[in-house]
């Protein structure tokens, strides 16, 4: 190999314009800005701007297709004086609280069940995720049919084994409807908790359990003192995500009950849709959805805190 020859640094074939452009990109800041620009642009236009516009709309009497006047707190005052709004508020919190609680409980339980080696583990894991993958609207249709008063399979079984003597009106009775929707939401949300937490459980070094066993910790103690502390940050993040999604839910409710019967199952999301889109009252609808904001802010704060702690 002859060593003496030097490699001349050959510029691109066509210097000039192209060269200058790529030269610019060599600068960190220029390249960084250029690369984030499309994403940031889209998000500013269709996420940040609407977020602010929505808050503004809540203070106006805008109707669909028109411009509105600033009317101060009028939307909020009329909402707070509306018994229906309080009913919706009650159910929104009930729905979120109950659904998140059971999703967490059952999802975590299933994660623990799955956190061991067994044949077909990958297959089972894939199956478990199905309720999460299949479009919610489509599974909601299925629940709707399953909750049919006359033809429900659940009723058929319960009557066959003699547990009930008459048919259950799942969706016609307010209390039943509320429970039925929570069950459907839990069904859909379990996989998210399970798969998320399973991933966390699998990162726990088995030798920690072995060490705890040697120290004399039983099953419960191992869970309480090894599993729980190690998984709690992930648990918090998963729960936060689920909370904001459940609180702002729309699809399940809208498909199965449309907020009925007697508005018993409206959430902020569905009520705001009903007022704004079929009803045309953009201002009022925006004011209703503004009530989701505090929960959103708390979620962001919790996530931020835990992400900071992780680092």
């Amino acid at each position: 190999m002859r060593i003496s020859e030097n490699i001349a640094i050959q510029p691109g074939k066509r210097p000039g314009r192209r060269w200058r452009w790529s030269g610019l990109l060599e600068d960190r800041t220029v390249m960084g800005m250029a690369f984030v620009a499309p994403a940031v642009g889209l998000l500013l236009l269709f996420l940040a701007y609407p977020l602010i516009l929505g808050i503004w709309l809540g203070f106006t009497d805008t109707v669909v297709g028109g411009t509105g006047e600033f009317i101060g707190l009028a939307n909020y005052i009329s909402l707070l004086n509306d018994a229906l709004f309080w009913k919706v508020t009650y159910y929104t919190f009930l729905y979120t609280g109950a659904a998140v609680f059971f999703k967490l409980l059952l999802g975590f339980a299933l994660a623990i069940v799955l956190n061991r080696e067994f044949r077909a583990k990958g297959f089972v894991r894939a199956i478990v995720l199905l309720p999460w993958i299949i479009p919610t609207v489509l599974s909601a249709i299925c629940f709707w049919w399953l909750y049919d008063t006359t033809f429900s399979g659940i009723t058929w079984v319960l009557m066959k084994i003699g547990l009930i003597g008459h048919k259950i009106d799942y969706l016609g009775d307010p209390t039943n409807a509320r429970i039925a929707l929570i069950v459907a939401n839990v069904w859909r949300g379990i996989p998210f908790f399970t798969i998320g937490l399973l991933a966390g459980l699998q990162t726990i070094n088995p030798s920690l359990y072995e060490a705890a066993s040697i120290d004399g910790a039983g099953g419960w103690h191992r869970f309480r003192h090894v599993t729980l502390p190690l998984i709690s940050p992930l648990l918090a993040v998963v729960t936060t995500f689920s909370t904001i999604w459940t609180f702002a839910d729309f699809q399940l409710i809208w498909v199965i009950t449309r907020g009925g019967p007697a508005n018993a199952t409206h959430l902020y999301g569905t009520l705001s849709f009903q007022r704004a889109i079929p009803g045309g009252q953009f201002g009022e609808g925006a004011a209703i959805s503004a009530f989701i904001l505090p929960v959103l802010m708390i979620s962001v704060w919790v996530c931020y805190k835990y992400m900071r702690r992780e680092e």
Partner: protein, 278 residues
């Protein structure tokens, strides 16, 4: 030995079976309904858990008497375009935030991530107003442009995790080898991040396919509806529910996501857990 088996039964198989039953039963219900005739469906004397006389009439009705294939096409169209758009934007953004580390990249990354937490129920009213002003009301393009609002945050976050796992030295070595930053990105980073890009793409596709609220709000023309919206609004007229075709539609509309998913489960799970762990 047998004692161990009993313990394993109680602690593992039994709960697993109950969970799987609970999670899968609705799909079974959906499936059998799709292949039942109305006569069978509404016959209370028959055991509803079996198909006594399978029929394809529901499928035929769905395709002949509704615009189901049109809706499926629309859903595909929107899902694919929104995925491509979001993926391209996220790929660039994630790389810049994770690797170029320019001034302000940290806060930008965090803000993008929090975008994922913003629920559509807060945004759909102001977005409706914006869509109206942009004159893309009642057009599939509105969905193509809006879906990235929830796809980009997710994909960006997921891809950032992937980029993190690519050794920095690889890029530095390429830079010493004579590659410009742009070339390092195209020839080194993107090929190495392909699994991540695939995960993100699958996610974006299923999330787009899943979307309901925006499609319901922004589209009113029947021929432009997406499958989830079309099924609900067109097959439920007043009090007349066509349960057979509805279930068939739900089943068929789930097939593309289920297929994509089944081919790439591992990527999906990896993506989901990766995004959570970040």
């Amino acid at each position: 030995m047998s004692e161990k088996f009993v313990e394993r039964m109680i602690k593992f198989y039994l709960p697993l079976f109950i969970f799987l039953f609970f999670l899968l039963f609705p799909f079974y219900w959906m499936f059998i309904t799709a292949f039942k005739s109305d006569a069978e469906l509404y016959n209370l004397k028959l055991n509803p858990f079996f198909i006594h006389e399978p029929t394809f009439k529901n499928i035929l009705m769905l395709f002949k008497e509704t615009l189901f294939n049109r809706w499926m096409f629309n859903t595909f169209f929107v899902a694919i375009l929104a995925t491509i758009l979001s993926l391209s934007a996220s790929l660039l953004a994630a790389y810049a935030i994770q690797r170029v580390r320019f001034r302000g990249s940290g806060p930008i990354g965090i803000s993008i991530f929090f975008g994922y937490l913003v629920p559509p129920t807060i945004l759909f009213i102001p977005l409706a107003a914006i869509i109206f002003q942009l004159k893309i009301w009642d057009s599939l393009w509105s969905l193509v442009l809006i879906y990235p609002t929830f796809l980009i945050p997710f994909c960006t976050w997921l891809l950032m995790g992937y980029f993190k796992s690519i050794p920095k030295e690889m890029e530095e070595c390429a830079m010493i080898d004579g590659a410009s930053r742009l070339r390092v990105f195209w020839q080194i980073v993107v090929p190495l991040a392909l699994p991540g890009i695939l995960s993100a793409g699958i996610f974006a596709f299923t999330l787009s396919w899943n979307e309901y609220l925006y499609a319901l709000t922004f589209i009113s023309t029947t021929t432009l509806k997406t499958a989830p919206v079309g099924l609900i609004t067109e097959l439920v007229r007043g009090d007349v529910y066509h349960w057979g075709p509805l279930m068939t539609g739900a089943l068929l509309a789930s097939v593309p996501v289920a297929l994509v998913y089944s081919f790439f489960v591992e990527h999906y799970v990896a993506g989901m857990t990766g995004a959570l762990k970040e």
